[in-house]
């Protein structure tokens, strides 16, 4: 953990490449790392596999990647808020794998926490169950859901200290906290960057040890 992880957007984006699996948090367009997404677009990266809850709204956030045709495959729970994503999925330009929202959280958390899978009642008897093992525990049936992990996670924080300790703001926290645990490279955009020691140890949502680079928005 170097003392100062703050880098330029250009330097951070230089670590990516085409074809990566990218975890992108955000609920509709709240808590989405929009500065980093613009950075991806500027660098021209494409063929991305995105893991996210949804695809923001048309032309914003993850919707920019949709609009610019940078996404090959998306694993998410919902695309209904973005008409352009729906069109491209229907046209076969983007492959989509739907995962129930709570299961998405569990799978990414499992990926970040070394858990080999979790048993959930969610999706039993629905199309989501197809091809997945059903395991019975004490007379109740559950779906076995496997971990998800990314090459990169792009995180939006409210405050970051220079070591990468993060605090999120209100519902902009959403998937950021878990997604920051489950990628080989974790790049954060922060609304405010503060000195180490300014954040109370008990209010830090993401420990700095999980963060590789910080970009000022």
């Amino acid at each position: 953990m170097p003392k100062n992880k703050v880098v330029s957007l250009d330097e951070a984006m230089g670590k990516l490449r085409d074809g990566l699996t990218v975890l992108i948090p955000g609920f509709v367009n709240c808590g989405v790392p929009e500065t980093l997404i613009k950075g991806i677009i500027e660098k021209g990266y494409t063929d991305l596999s995105v893991i996210s809850n949804n695809t923001s709204i048309k032309g914003r956030g993850i919707g920019m990647l949709v609009h610019e045709n940078r996404i090959k495959h998306i694993t998410c729970s919902h695309i209904g808020n973005n008409t352009e994503t729906v069109e491209k999925v229907v046209a076969g330009e983007i492959n989509v794998t739907f995962v129930p929202q709570g299961t998405l959280c569990e799978r990414v958390r499992a990926g970040g926490a070394g858990i080999g899978g979790i048993l959930t009642p969610t999706g039993l008897g629905t199309p989501i169950a197809e091809g997945k093992p059903v395991i019975e525990v004490d007379g109740k049936k559950y779906l076995l859901e496997k971990p998800l992990h990314g090459d990169v996670a792009l995180i939006h924080a409210w405050k970051a200290d220079k070591m990468g300790n993060l605090v999120y703001r209100r519902t902009a926290r959403n998937f950021n906290q878990i997604f920051a645990t489950a990628a080989d490279l974790v790049i954060v955009e922060a609304e405010q960057i503060v000195e180490v020691g300014e954040l109370d140890p008990d209010v830090i949502h993401t420990p700095g040890c999980l963060v590789d680079m910080i970009v000022q928005i």
């Binding site: 509709v28 709240c30 129930p100 629905t126 209100r170």
Partner: protein, 217 residues
């Protein structure tokens, strides 16, 4: 009362003071306008917050970091709190949410629900619906009794891909309240002026008609 008002009015009477409730997008949010005197409920929104109160009113300043389950800006009440999506679905799946209220395309007499996809027509994704319906203590379906063509939505067996199996507890429509029991769907209450015959004729499921049927208002 107008149809939707009646449905919201009756649904709101399922809540007890202090209940933590998840209200789906659309008609379910109308319940807030019909809470009985002395019943104060707390709204759990799956994007990671307890205590949303609705969009900022004129003169109120919203925070773009506080959004509801549709992604729209919302205000928060005093005593509310925020958490990440993983924790949110832990609360939902863990049975800590007293009731979830959703609409439906179809419900059947076994308590199966279809409300997330119409193959060939919608590709929105299930969002949090599957987790909410599998996890909440009580699942309340509020919907118009028939579809816009007048066809029954309450069936012997759902024809659309399911959201969850055997999870629906109550169905509240402009005609009646149905309770799903181990024996089947029980006609518990009728709207003023509605007859058993009308409900039976507009319902494709088998109904259990008790001797005594209550009134919805």
């Amino acid at each position: 009362m107008e149809k939707r008002e009646l449905i919201a009015y009756r649904t709101a009477r399922f809540f007890e003071d202090g209940d933590l409730v998840n209200l789906g997008i659309g008609m379910p949010t109308m319940c807030m306008n019909y809470l009985p005197e002395g019943v104060d409920i707390w709204i759990e929104s799956e994007n990671g917050v307890i205590g949303l109160t609705g969009a900022p009113k004129e003169g109120e300043e919203g925070d773009p970091n506080v959004v509801d389950a549709s992604g729209g800006m919302s205000m928060m009440r005093t005593g509310g709190c925020c958490f990440d999506s993983f924790t949110s679905f832990g609360l939902i799946r863990g049975g800590h949410v007293a009731a979830t209220v959703l609409g439906a395309y179809e419900v059947d007499q076994e308590g199966n629900l279809a409300n997330w996809t119409v193959p060939g027509k919608t590709v929105a994704g299930m969002g949090g619906a599957m987790d909410l319906v599998s996890g909440a203590k009580k699942v309340l379906i509020m919907m118009e009794h028939c579809d816009k063509h007048g066809n029954p939505k309450i069936l012997k067996r759902c024809t659309l891909p399911l959201t969850a199996v055997n999870e629906v507890d109550y169905i509240i429509t402009e005609l009646c309240v149905l309770e799903r029991t181990a024996e089947g769907l029980v006609l518990k209450e009728l709207a003023p002026g509605v007859t058993v015959e009308e409900v039976v004729s507009k319902t494709a499921a088998d109904l259990i008609i008790p001797q005594k049927i209550g009134c919805m208002v």
